[in-house]
């Protein structure tokens, strides 16, 4: 996907007022469906999902806080963060002391409107800059107006499964419940769609389940509705906060050295990038649900900049000046490279396990022996299954003859291509190219490992 397409998606989606239910999510998914296919599902309010219930649906048309002279301190139409998400309707004149418990600001960031929610307790409130709050004449009376609607409806999510040949299915999940903030998590929403767009038409080896849901309640409902399928998921990537100006990072799965972790780290290595590594932490996103004891799906997040790690997090300053398409594109390459590497991560069995097979008679070995340097002219076969461009591999490729020898040596079915790449420090794509050559000569065969 072009950077300009990404930027235009960011700009169209940014103003939409999303929450965990309501038309904001519907509108967001509708825009994404202009470029990628996936299914939309509505879960009625009141549906029980394990320990939770889908709440009433929330919609909002307008909201403002003004004084007797018509000075506005918060205005939904100017910035949807001005209203506490899930505020019940209100239309009242109040003294400042009655109003005060309903106001939220950030003294340490006086120019920022904070992001606040009250999903499961009926309440209402306004978020305003601390500068505005400080300027209020507390002797005045104030008109609090929130034209919202909280009643039984449904919660909306999107999903699609791209089916591959292997018995492994990976989950790509993001959350679409945050209002106008760029990095958290409009960036994740757009990257999710771009990733789906890039691989949707490929002939895939593994299966990939793309899920886009409201955070927490959405993930819990999705697990509840697809319980059997989700217990079989091999691993998950969870795009979130992917378009900031800082360093690329990786938040590990709860296992820490799962295939997901290793393949992401291999991808960074092959691209010559050293990411900031974050250990698993229970303070996070839907990995909390996916990795819970009943499911234990190892879930990793490639990010830029990670939530909690940038000052603008959960405020109006996390906008499209902070997050942009060029930055998102960099992160997208790592997600694509990771999936590319996952696709190539196969196990092989030698058909000539006793001693080395004779490469010379198959034209895979030079005829004059004794010299030190081996020729390297197998060409680059590894990209033929993949149509997208990945950045230049920074992990230097070695001789293809060596790659073939190592593959033959380890081809007892117990080691994946990733295992071998880590052991001998070669890019997976070179090993995959060598594997293809060996397969064509009948020297190895791919096996399913059931991992």
């Amino acid at each position: 996907m072009e950077i300009s397409t990404i930027q235009s998606l960011l700009e169209r989606l940014f103003p939409v007022c999303r929450s965990i239910t309501g038309n904001g999510v519907r509108r967001t998914l509708e825009i994404l469906r202009e470029i990628v296919d996936f299914n939309i599902t509505e879960i009625p309010s009141g549906t029980t999902c394990f320990d939770w219930k889908v709440p009433d649906e929330w919609n909002i048309t307008d909201a403002y806080l003004e004084d007797e002279e018509g000075n506005r301190y918060a205005d939904f139409k100017f910035n949807n963060l001005h209203v506490v998400s899930y505020s019940e309707p209100v239309n009242k004149w109040l003294e400042f002391k009655e109003l005060e418990p309903h106001l939220h600001s950030l003294p340490e960031m006086p120019e920022a409107i904070p992001y606040r929610t009250s999903y499961y307790k009926r309440d209402w409130g306004f978020c305003l800059t601390h500068r505005s709050l400080a300027e209020i004449d507390r002797s005045k009376r104030f008109h609090a107006v929130i034209e919202s609607d909280l009643k039984p409806g449904s919660m909306t999510y999107g999903d699609i499964v791209l089916s591959g040949k292997s018995d492994q299915e990976y989950l790509i999940s993001t959350y679409c419940c945050h209002p106008s903030m760029g990095n958290d998590n409009l960036s994740g929403v757009v990257l999710w769609a771009a990733l789906l767009h890039e691989i949707q038409s490929l002939d895939l080896y593994h299966s990939y389940r793309f899920v886009i849901i409201p955070e927490t309640i959405g993930a819990i409902c999705y697990l509840s509705e697809h319980s059997e399928a989700m217990k079989k998921i091999s691993g998950c990537l969870l795009p979130s906060n992917v378009a900031g100006p800082g360093r690329l990072g990786y938040k590990k799965t709860f296992i820490g050295d799962h295939t997901i972790d290793r393949i992401v780290e291999q991808t960074f290595l092959e691209n010559g990038i050293e990411p900031v590594i974050y250990p698993f932490d229970i303070l996070g996103s839907d990995e909390r649900q996916y990795s819970s004891p009943g499911f234990r799906i190892p879930t990793g997040t490639i990010c830029k900049d990670k939530y909690y790690e940038f000052q603008q997090y959960h405020t109006s300053l996390d906008n499209l000046e902070f997050a942009n398409a060029g930055q998102l594109y960099e992160t997208l390459q790592i997600y694509l490279g990771t999936i590319h590497n996952l696709e190539m991560n196969r196990n092989y069995l030698s058909r000539n396990p006793n001693g080395e097979p004779m490469l010379g008679k198959r034209g895979l070995y030079k005829s004059i022996g004794g010299s030190l340097v081996q020729p390297a002219h197998l060409g680059n076969k590894s990209h033929r299954d993949f149509k997208y461009k990945i950045t230049t591999q920074k992990l230097t490729a070695g001789s293809d003859l060596d790659a073939m020898r190592w593959l033959l040596f380890y081809a007892d079915g117990s080691k994946s291509l990733l295992d071998i790449a880590e052991l001998i420090n070669l890019p997976m794509s070179q090993l995959f190219g060598a594997a293809r050559t060996l397969e064509e000569h009948g020297l190895i065969e791919e096996i399913q490992t059931g991992e």
Copy 2:
């Protein structure tokens, strides 16, 4: 137990002439029984214990070595170290060259009387300062008098089992066979009694077997007499050399990272103390017997200063100026903290394993979301089962909400509270408090793991 009580025990017990059998041990146990309850058992001389036999009982009333002019070089009544323990009776006038093989001194520590024994070979001897030995006029004749008694009797030990709810039993064992030396091991004897005193009346989770025995032969006999019970012991703490002026230390079990080792190290960490760590060594005390191939009880020793590590070891300079109650008290806190942590080391199973349970509807979560800092007001529930004071936790407590979330995340029964504490770097007492809260809300349940 108050420091003054400890000091007074040390002073009363110091002069008693203990050996592996005899009235010294009996008198020692009798004094301890003034403050704690335990059983006394007598094993007759000649009883076979695996490869060993209980020796004849040894008692002594007086002993001295003097020359023709009545100059005394060794005098039992002045210091019981002057006589080689288990010396047979003697009353002879001797030339110096006949006497010399029976004299023991330490040239490198001329003011110290060494500690020597001859339990299993009939012999006699005097231990004297090297200064005294050097002053002897070797042309004189000498009167060697040892009024001892070596005949069939019995060997004495004490024990008691405090029964808890779990299926795990821990051993707390010390040795009471050393005569007047303070750190080795009157300090261990007194700490053993103080520890028993502190936990004797508590409602305990695990069972604790307190054993006080003569070193080596006592431990072997105890294993022989309680063979079946001892094969079921989960681990052992062996107080020994616990009241020196140096740094607190820990001698590891032969496994090195057994629960015993990890819980002791966690306790030191929580108290902000970095102990000297000693690897397991076959040169030691009764861990040699308890950890032998037939029993393999992992045995650790918290010490201050460890045997072999101080110059005064096994001499008359290991006295109550070297070892004192204040120092013993510091070590006692680590033993108590270790048992406290052992008590809290439980495994939990989530009753809501699918996704996170909803904490909000149970009042365990704030209603306004989106902000960074979580409130921490669960209070401190962890100490309610324990009446003694432990030193301030130096491992800083985190938010109780996080503690609950981590517990819920790991609550698949496979991880103990210690495992979780190590993983997330929180004090066990905070996790235990959080576990209690979650149990009260029916969110987790304790399970037996049979470890």
Copy 3:
């Protein structure tokens, strides 16, 4: 074996023109059989060995390249490296441009004749110094003469099994197919024979299979001909490049911490030598065959200097000035020490597993207790099974009493003598001596572990 005997073997064997088949190998094995016994086997050309076939036999009597004036640029009788090994017969007058594709030289080493082969493609060629090549007047015509013979015959190898008591068999394999080069691999050939000579008449514990073969095709045929026996091999040492002037080194097995690796590293440690450690690499010698998926024999090589690591490798400069008997002798000591340690690597079971056995009643413990230093007077029993001299142990021996206590402690059958030596940092020979003493007193017994 004396250094002078080694030197005389090197000098007699150096001029022989070896290849993968032919009289050079036969003559080499014949000379070795003057000092050691082993069997000779001939495998007919055309025999199928897994994916390979034994090639026609190659013999050569003369070869030279000269110009019209009789100037010689390559002369087999001066140095057999001048001819590409397995060159087909030729006798032609050629223009330089016809000759050029058949010439091999090393521009970066102008004084060296390179070593080249063309085993499996019919071809011919001369190897000459780059200086000679540069001096050639390319306008002349040249007479290329190779008096060789390529026809069905057989491939020759040698082997012998020395049978021991245990159920473990180790392989000692080297390759004898290289013409006149000293370190690679005449040194390995001579060390192989010297090692066999040293242990051939000993009363061995393990079995040792000594194999001397042409590289690659020889190893593959040997595996094919002795498939069942080779699947039972416990490990392999592969002497190769053992007489250079550089540091001793060790190339690890593909497992990396196999018993073979650990015992070699223990041997270096006991000798106070820190070797250069090389990880396993598929670029190597017959470990590629022995460790292939069908056999997986862990194979290590103690070397000095390793192939690829010295500039003279695979050239005429790898001669007997580079490699010599004194240097080979140093490496031989490490091979002997390694086998010595392998021989002692046994597992023991205590006959008194409950508590410590009483050493005193068996005269293994001093009678006066309490002092710090233990006597060490068991003598050195460990060498009695071995007649050869090994270098002074640099890993300092401890007290024999401690060695006995540790052995008794670990004597549950699960730990080998090597495991114990590593754990407590004592030389294996001291532990073995202590084990013998304990066995004589009926305290432990040796067990087979089936490893």
